[in-house]
Amino acid sequence: MDLRRYTEPFFENLIKVCGYSSGFVVLLIVIFLFREGISFFNFSPVEKGYSLWVHSNNPVKKLEPAQIKDIFDQKITNWKSIGGKDEPIHLLSFDELSQAYSPTQLGPKFEHLPRCLDSFMDSLPGTIGFFPEAQTVGQLKTAREVEVDKIALSKFLTDTEWFPTSRPAARMGVMPLLLGTMLVSFFAILFALPLGLAASIYLAEIADERVRKILKPIIELLAGIPSVVYGFFGLVVIVPFVQDAFNLPVGETALSGSIVLAIMALPTIITVSEDALRTTPRSMKEASLALGASQWQTIRKVIVPYAASGITAAAILGIGRAIGETMAALMVTGNSAIMPHSLLQPVRTIPATIAAELGEAPYDGLHFKALFALGCVLFFITLIINLLVERVSAKR
């Protein structure tokens, strides 16, 4: 009895602590996600430990990551087109430098690299080079380091290219991934909503109790099947089917993703909208029937309008699930991070990008942080969707 005087408060406090801390888990997730994600914007897009050099007389002082990529892809070939002198751009590679100068000139440990670089720049003023900072910074006379802007939030959200590992400067724009995610999820709901709604009407209003008792648990059971299994099924059945049906070079397309995500969203949509349909008061149904309306007319004119907000909530919830779905999207959408133009081309969703690239991104580097920033974008989208669902269902 005495002992309990000490154990009871202990356990009661433990219970309270568990309660509070469960409430704080979401906040903890937000803090960590954003701490890593926001630091992305403090990184230079140029590969760590390297910098870009041009001739000191070159009027171009600053370059955008997009311009750098175009220069190194040789899409921009003259300094004039980016605000410099009318001079062809020469891309200086390390190989070229070691061909132009003998090993003794460069030095066995490349200690004379700055001098060689200086003389090369002098002979060809249109040169741009990409060299390790350790052997260049503060040691060059005729060359000047090009400033590269950090990737701004607005650029991150609107840029249409996602080349996180391109050298010398990465391009990281969310747009292709965001549009890919939206495209796949939107069509998934477009396929799933009419079917799910019909099934929920059948289960709620038409089916015998006996039939319903069999169908409902099966549908609920299917919500429990892991997404990786749906992804696998999509890979071995849906993907070849789409490829054959539309005569495509690859079957991993946005359409395959939409179909698989639609199948996955069905249980959610059916369960939530059936619950909504069931909340229609009996008196309203009976009033409609008493006025001579058929059962179908009652469903169409009374029950569905009454449950409209619940059905909307089901649709939004379904979109939310589809947007956040990782494994199935990763396995069947083809993973190509380009701006989507049609349903029949490979796309890539935000969660799939995180899943595919985080394992390869060097820890704490620019790419790593960029994926956390993507996570923040995804979190925002799902947060908005959750709030919308709450708002819509609260209206009832």
Binding site: V25, L221, L358
Partner: protein
């Protein structure tokens, strides 16, 4: 052909057509879902045998079995429940029994609801940032278990709360009238009645956790390990990740296809059995509680 009932008849016909469509779609959906299960069962059944379940993968995962993946999944499920079950049940007790109506209770409830809506890949990112890097666990069973445990937490909290709510208040009052303290009442009266339903929640959480892939990608899962993990700081293989790996990457995707079917079958079987047990438990005990 104008009869007074013609309108009536058209109405009936329209209704019959619409009902037929709705019924057709419903059966179609259930049929499609059963077809998926049947397809996986048919393809996987031929592969799965005792040897497949108990041997290591060999020949670049085109032969052999999935023993390490099964063991890894068991570790992860066990580890995550070791964390999520006590914390979740206590949080559920807090919300239903201790928290007073007001801002704090609303805060905890809203936050756990939001937690349930967070995409699983975000749990993966978080687990990597906190457990793997910040706390220095590295990719390990403990990091993966904690990540999965957080994911299961809202499920356990919600079912605990619902189960406690369904316990009639007269039980509590009777216990208080006999002079029992609040905690004693919860421990000896409320929890025993609610326990079966709480266990149902636990089982559902096990089903969910055993199939999750995204949270373990970066916190624990290994592509291939030649031996079983020897401590909680080791990486391990896991069934869902194994299925992902052998069906999408590697040079011998076609050769390892049968292995993939087998893995998918085992995974689906585990999840379905777990869910069916939960449903049966709920049916069985659900009736029993109501009788009291």
């Amino acid at each position: 052909m104008i009869f007074p009932e013609s309108n009536e008849r058209r109405k009936k016909l329209g209704q019959a057509i619409m009902f037929g469509i709705a019924r057709g779609i419903s059966y179609g959906i259930v049929g499609l879902l059963l077809l998926i299960l049947f397809f996986i069962a048919k393809q996987g059944m031929g592969v799965v045998n005792w040897q497949y379940l108990t041997s290591m993968p060999t020949d670049g995962m085109t032969k052999g079995g999935i023993y390490p993946a099964i063991v890894g999944t068991l570790y992860l499920v066990g580890g995550s429940m070791l964390f999520a079950f006590p914390v979740g049940v206590m949080a559920g007790i807090y919300v239903n029994e201790y928290a007073k109506e007001g801002a704090l209770k609303r805060f905890v409830k809203t936050m756990t609801n939001n937690l349930a809506g967070v995409p699983s890949i975000i749990f993966g990112l978080f687990g990597m940032a906190l457990f793997v890097n910040q706390m220095g666990f590295g990719a390990s069973i403990i990091a993966g278990s904690l990540t999965l445990g957080l994911l299961a937490l809202p499920i356990v909290i919600r079912t605990t709360e619902e189960s406690l709510k369904s316990v009639d208040d007269t039980f509590r009052q009777a216990s208080y009238a006999l002079g029992a303290s609040k905690l004693y009442t919860i421990r000896k009266v409320v929890l025993p009645i609610a326990l079966p339903n709480i266990l149902t929640g636990l089982i559902l959480a096990v089903g969910r956790v055993s199939g999750e892939t995204a949270p373990i990608l970066f916190t624990v899962a290994a592509y291939f390990l030649p031996k079983l993990p020897s401590s909680i700081m080791d990486q391990c293989m896991a069934l869902p990740y194994h299925l992902y790996v052998i069906s999408t990457s590697g040079t011998q995707i076609e050769a390892s296809r049968p292995m993939a079917y087998g893995t998918a079958f085992v995974l689906v079987a585990i999840v379905l059995i777990v869910n069916i047990i939960a449903a049966l438990l709920r049916n069985y005990f659900g009736k029993k509680v109501k009788m009291n």
